[in-house]
Each structure stands twice: as C-alpha cells, then as structure tokens.
C-alpha cells in the first residue's frame, strides 16, 4: 500500500452544469460562469467563501477562455489563495490537492468545452470558433508542416492503437462497440444529452471511418458545455449536508513516453495502468465495492484501456468481458451483476466535457438526485478514470 493521508478527508459539495448543445453560440467564459454560479448555489455558500479556483485549459494567461484569472474577475470573487488551470482528469485532483494542502478551503473547479473548428465542417464555418483556435494556446506548432510532429498531442495514435490492440490480442471490435451502444442507451434517458437516439451494434459498425479503423461512433460528441464543482474539507461538508460525497482515494499517472506519442509503450503499460495501479495502492475500497464506473470515453479505446487497467479483466479480454456482462433488454453494461457504467451517456452520448460530467453524474446519483434516471439502489461508491494514454490521467474513488 501507498500512503493515502487524504482518505475521506475531502468532499464534493457543489455541482453545476450548463445545457449541452451542438451550437450554443456562447464563449468558453460564458459557459463557465453559468456552471460556476450553479455549483456555488448548489453548495449553498456565498461566492466569497471560494478561496481557490481551478479554471480550464493548460496556460494560466490564455485569453478568451475560462482560466482562473478570467473566472475570478468575472465572478467578482474578492480573494483567492490558490489558482491554477487544468483539464481532463487532472483538474479535479489538483483542486482536491489544494484543499488537502490547506492552500484552499473551498475550491471551485470550472471545466468548459466547445466544439472546435477542426471537429466538423459546420464548426469550421463559424468564424468565432476559428478565432478561438487561432488565439488559443496549446503550446506550439503541433499540426504544422513537419508531419513528424503530428502526434504531439493528437488523437490519431488512438486509432493506430485500436488496430494494434486487435492485432496483438487477436480480437475484433466488440469491446469498442459495446461501450458505444451502452453510452447511447443511457443518453436516450438523459434529457440533457445531445444524442437522444439509441444505437445498435450494427449502427456502430456502419458508422463513417474517420481515422481508419476508428469510426465516428468511437469518438465523443463535440458540444458546447461546462461543468463546475466545489470541493471542501469533509469536516466542513458535514456542516453543509447530512451525507456528503467524499473523496476516498485518487491518483494521477505518467510514463516516460513524453510528448511524441509514436513512442508509445506496450498496451498494458500506458498511463492508465500507472494511474489505476496508483489508485488501488491507496484505496481501501476495492473494485468489487464499486457501484458506478466511469471509464473515459473520449475514444472508445480509452474506455477499454481503463476497464482493463482497473482490473475488471485481463488485457485484451475486454470484448469478452463486456459480452458476458451485457444487459440485452436494456442494451447497457452491468458489470458483475451490480456495476452500472456511464449512466448519463458519457462523452459518447451526453457530449464531450473531457470527463467533467462523470463527476457531476456520480455526485447526483450518490445524492439520489437524478429523478427518473436515479438508480433504484442509491450508489455508494464510484470509480472515475479520465485522461489520455500519455497525459493528464486521473483515477478517483468517490464514496458516501
């Protein structure tokens, strides 16, 4: 076991989400502010109780986004003692670290995502979206004329990995297909989801090839949206609510691959394996205790990696595992007879939020607040694992 001094010492006390849409015609900041205000109101606190902010993105001074400087100014929060920007899985962990370290007592996380102009023809036609990319800052000249730099922070290696995975383990696309159908079946019951129509396994296989063998239905759905959370100490949370959602254990992860992703390590050594190993070395709750599972679904191959790295099955066996744990009537996954997967539809069905909507779904389900979509037996433990094979992965166990 590794040290886990933060065990059950932190809690999520506020959740806020914007509507999700393909074209909301709003800025990152506008979306982020709506989610932030909703999360602060959900927590039932005054805005000036916020003393830490984790904004969106990777650069502290980026303009036109929802970084912590813009958020603090726009929200009129007088003083903070901690601020940072991040995305994907690491944002949640950074904010929790800040509260555990004492640099913040009440930390706001805001994550905004919009449909990038490179994601569709209609998005490219929008001059505001093109400007956002032109003036955004993701660190250099990726996608420039040197083709050899194309996989510096690219999704394309995931397509290469789909084929390599099938080749190395002698399997077909079943694992990817089950995840895609599962998310769309759940999304059809989530009024906030952009994809309201369920799909079949045949629909999955018939979808357009984008980066062959990766197909359209392997990719999360680009949308305009924002999610926000408020994290505080468990002690403070108990003054605010009878049954706070606690952070039981968490881990980040990284490997020596670096930023050129063609240097990938073998499948079962990517950053998800490091991260999940780090989590289980710290968590007293084990896989069999988990009621809700959120494996990152930026691409279906991410979710397959997380499922295997979490220990549900051996590397290469995810397709068989999903087939054995498929609820035919509901067209969803139900793992080992108890664990529901991506109950809001995830990135593949609700919309791409870099996994931020997994936290809001998990917290609402664990509070018993999902109304018609509420799981009858209110879940008590959730496993969320978000990120990339190469950067910013996190794994978190939440409990009540």
């Amino acid at each position: 076991m590794a040290r886990n001094p933060l065990k059950d010492q932190l809690a999520v006390v506020g959740i806020g989400s914007t509507p999700y849409g393909r074209d909301l015609q709003r800025s990152h900041l506008s979306l982020g502010l709506e989610a932030a205000i909703a999360a602060i109101r959900d927590a039932g606190i005054d805005k000036n109780e916020i003393d830490g902010i984790c904004g969106s993105g990777m650069t502290p001074l980026a303009q036109g986004g929802s970084g912590f400087l813009s958020l603090q100014g726009a929200l009129g929060i007088d003083e903070i003692t901690w601020g940072k920007n991040s995305w994907l899985g690491s944002c949640f962990v950074y904010a929790a670290e800040a509260v555990f370290s004492g640099l913040s007592d009440m930390c706001l996380v805001v994550q905004t995502y919009v449909r990038d102009p490179g994601m569709s023809r209609s998005a490219y036609a929008d001059p505001f979206r093109r400007n956002l990319t032109k003036f955004g800052d993701i660190g250099g000249d990726i996608g420039g004329s040197d083709f050899a730099k194309r996989w510096v922070h690219s999704g394309e290696p995931y397509a290469g990995w789909m084929r390599r995975y099938m080749h190395d383990y002698g399997v077909n696309k079943d694992a990817f297909a089950y995840l895609a159908v599962n998310s769309r079946s759940h999304a059809a019951h989530n009024p906030a989801a952009v994809m309201q129509q369920p799909i079949t396994l045949d629909d999955y296989h018939a979808s357009r090839q984008i980066w062959e063998p990766m197909q359209m239905l392997d990719m999360d759905v680009p949308v305009d949206c924002a999610e926000a959370f408020v994290i505080t100490t468990a002690e403070r949370a108990r003054d605010m609510t009878d049954k706070p959602v606690l952070i039981h254990a968490m881990s980040l992860g990284g490997t020596r691959v670096g930023e050129f992703y063609e240097n990938s390590l073998p499948w079962d050594q990517n950053a998800f394996w490091v991260t999940l190993k780090g989590l289980w070395a710290r968590s007293e709750l084990k896989l069999e205790d988990i009621d809700l599972f959120f494996p990152y679904d930026g691409y279906t191959i991410d979710g397959v990696g997380v499922t295997e790295a979490a220990g549900y099955c051996k590397p290469g066996e995810c397709g068989d595992f999903f087939k054995d744990n498929w609820d035919e009537a509901r067209q969803v996954l139900r793992l080992n007879g108890k664990t529901e997967v991506m109950t809001h539809g995830g990135g593949l069905g609700m919309g791409r939020a870099g996994g931020a909507n997994y936290f809001s779904e998990a917290v609402r389900q664990m509070r018993g607040q999902e109304g018609a979509r509420q799981i009858a037996e209110v879940p008590e433990a959730a496993l969320i694992a978000i990120g990339s094979f190469f950067h910013d992965p996190c794994a978190v166990v939440l409990r009540t």
């Binding site: 023809r121 004329s145 063609e262």
Partner: protein, 150 residues
C-alpha cells in the same frame, strides 16, 4: 532533389516558418534541409534519443549528437486519415505510421507511408526512407521494401 546545403540558423528558421525550430532540434531541421534524416545519438552509451532532447535519458550524458540513420525500419502502428483536421480541406486518404527504426527497438518516427495502397499496409511491414516534395521543401516518408519479408 532539393538540397539547400548547410544553412545558417537565420536562413534555416526562415525555411521552416511554421515550425518551432529551437536550439534542441535545430540540427534535425538543418539535416532535413540537406535531405538527411538525423536523430540524436548518445556518444557515451550509444542510445538513440528521439524526439530531439539535449540529454540521454539512459546515462544523462550531454554528449548527444545528431547523426544520420539508415532509414530502415518497420511499421509499428498506423491509421489512415479519412478526414483532415480542417474539414474544409479536400484530400485523399493519408496513411500515417509510427515507424520502428532498425537502429534501436522502440525508436520511432512518425511519417507518411507512400508507394503503397493503405489496405496493403501491415503491422511490422519492413519500410525504408524516401523523400516527398511539398512546396519548396522535401520531407521524409517511408515506402515498403520490395520483396521485404513480413
């Protein structure tokens, strides 16, 4: 066959206006301008280092030199791009592959596969370096080795 010869830093940076040429990768781009593919090599322990970094990750030597590679390798993984990042740009499907260099296991370089139908590419297929002209520059690409065994 464009070979700009050994270029000074100012001319080299002007030749690659949309690439961040810096002090760690400058010899790689100076090599490309001469139609040579150079990869950093540790003069102390012999490890090949890619991307262009100033130290050897194995022995931490700073005695790292950009050296020409054989251009021989095999396909580790690949995808065929059916749509570009800028969807308004018309284009043909582009096979893009991580090529494992013969010099060292796991030493990989991302490149186009040319002179081969995308459906004929296989894992571990032997390939060799060739060059393709785009605008005023030549860039590395890889093609199957005729008669090369899988």
């Amino acid at each position: 066959m464009r070979n700009y010869g050994p270029l000074d830093d100012f001319t080299l940076i002007e030749l690659y206006p949309d690439v961040q040429v810096n002090r760690d990768n400058v010899e790689y781009y100076r090599g490309l301008a001469e139609r040579k593919l150079l990869i950093n090599h540790c003069a102390d322990c012999g490890t090949w280092i890619y991307p262009h970094r100033p130290i050897c990750p194995e022995c931490w030597s700073w005695n790292v030199k950009a050296e020409e590679v054989s251009g021989l390798g095999s396909v580790f993984m690949w995808t065929t791009l059916m749509q570009q990042r800028s969807p308004s740009a018309p284009h043909e499907p582009v096979p893009v592959a991580a090529v494992d260099f013969a010099e060292q296991k796991g030493l990989r370089y991302l490149s186009r596969i040319v002179n081969c139908r995308p459906e004929d590419i296989t894992h571990d297929m032997p390939v060799r370096l060739t060059w393709i002209e785009i605008g005023n520059l030549e860039w590395p690409a890889f093609e199957p080795i005729p008669g090369g065994a899988n």
